[in-house]
Symmetry: C2
Subunit: 309 residues, 2 copies
């Protein structure tokens, strides 16, 4: 540890991010110490992001930092868990300057405030490769009430929490240098923590990061059943609806929206009434696999979604 | 998520690493769900490692995997915490083959067994850069008994759990292609979980990863006091003693051993008797900073240890 190096970075930039949480031990320690919370389970999620793979290398550093938190917050939301704290591992490319780090930290601070999410610990290293980030997020959920991917049964309704395809359209816009609401949303997804009480009513759930078809398929697979998805019922934003209307093949275009990924909505299985905030788009069935219907006919699907791996 | 891709990797290679822990949800989910354990606190540590920075690019993948777990286990040991579970983020360089991954996983399995440490979750991504790893390890410690870096007071004894300098000598051997006990120990440090009951008696502790001087300094700084280290009292292995005897300047050589890092012993502050397994090498004092003594004289120190950052 070089004097003037890691300690300055920790004291000046990172410590304010702890928001005074005693668990963080002022980031003076190699570990955080968290009290147990009787009556609650701890949901733990860990996602990694690499420049050039999960975000564009010239994306603004504050937005990258916020996206890192938000993709993990989305995983907590899908579990029905209330955010508790974050641990970050950051591998800076050689020569990353202080100004870049300051902007990155500004993003962490902004969403730390928005989601009341303290930084509890982590590690900072250097790398000869691209900026590489990993966040471990912890959230509390009432004991036994975590919503898992397993838990769907034949007969359950498949429902989603909002528009599908905006993430893919936004990525496309961002890649072509087009600014607007969808490019913003791609860079800064909105985890559905506003729907926690509805999500906790679900029999199973997953956030939509790989694509609607893939993530609904994950629920089906984990639950040992099949899922039928009616593409004509998927909610679309006005931008996605306009894009769809301009495409020559409506079914293929709907498939594209449903496999593009990065939506960060929640797909869930409900037994009985679909709660506020969700739209029914299909059902879980006996069997295996993902069955897609559009325009009243079955659609052959050759890939379910996007893999970052 | 490509069929035949991430799921195969998870099902065939990673799932056995959960050791049947129900918290892992068979790695079918985006999060793990952990029950609270009333009467215990959860220690959480997160360390990252990058090929070419924290390990040699041609180090055997199974040893790299085991070192990743062990450096984090060492952080838990220094807190007095009993290992509970691990989360891993792995960024594979493009083109990493299945055989490499299998060997890496074999290392995880071997130390998962040795330390009864289940894999509870994580993320696997690809990178255009070097192999980049991050582990988040969780451990239980009786409520309120975690040993922190803060907690030392003037008058406390500074003690260490074993030989100092072997990590640096082992790195030097490994870099020069010399095989032997120290090169093995550099690649595969031994976290001092065998000393948990002694460590829990400490007023403050840290594992020695950056170097004895740096890590004793971390304790002093976090505790708001100074520390005096008597280099002539540091325990040495027979290999380190032989190396020392061959050096022209004994004090400079002792300093080298005390600043090299990667020892993964524990430095601790004890009030009263030093428990079994520890050797007293100095004391905490009023003031600030790290004061080094060798051959009865104060030694000027220009750097305290090694920074990976």
């Amino acid at each position: 540890m070089t004097p003037g190096g890691e300690f300055d970075w920790i004291e000046r930039l990172l410590r304010p991010l702890t928001r005074g949480a005693p668990e963080a031990l002022d980031l003076l320690d190699d570990a955080a110490v968290l009290p147990s919370r009787p009556g609650f389970d701890l949901a733990v999620t860990k996602d990694a992001m690499v420049a050039g793979v999960h975000f564009l290398p010239d994306d603004p550093p504050d937005l990258v930092a916020r996206k890192l938190l938000r993709v993990n917050l989305s995983d907590l939301a899908a579990k029905g868990a209330e955010p508790y704290g974050a641990f970050l591992a950051i591998a800076w490319p050689a020569g990353t300057d202080w100004a870049f780090k300051e902007i990155f930290v500004r993003g962490l601070a902004q969403d730390g405030e928005a989601y009341r999410l303290p930084l509890l610990g982590g590690d900072t290293v250097s790398t000869p490769g691209p900026l590489t980030l990993s966040a471990t997020l912890l959230g509390w959920v009432p004991a036994g009430e975590a919503v898992l991917r397993r838990g769907a049964q034949p007969g359950d309704v498949l429902a989603v929490s909002g528009p599908i395809g905006d993430g893919w359209l936004g990525l496309d816009d961002a890649k072509r240098g087009l600014e607007g609401r969808l490019a913003d949303l791609y860079r800064l997804p909105e985890p559905r923590l506003d729907l926690l009480s509805s999500i906790r009513k679900a029999a199973a759930a997953a956030d939509i990061s790989d694509g609607l078809l893939a993530d609904a398929g994950h629920i089906a697979k984990a639950s040992g059943c099949a899922v039928r998805i009616e593409l004509d019922r998927t909610p679309l934003s006005s931008e996605a609806a306009a894009w769809l209307a301009a495409q020559p093949d409506r079914t293929q275009a709907l498939l594209q929206l449903a496999t593009g990924g990065d939506d960060y909505q929640v797909a869930a299985a409900f037994r009985g009434a679909v709660p506020e905030g969700f739209t029914a788009i299909g059902a879980f069935e006996a069997g295996r696999g993902v069955h897609v219907v559009a325009g009243g006919a079955a659609v052959a699907v050759d890939r379910l979604g996007w893999s970052h791996a």
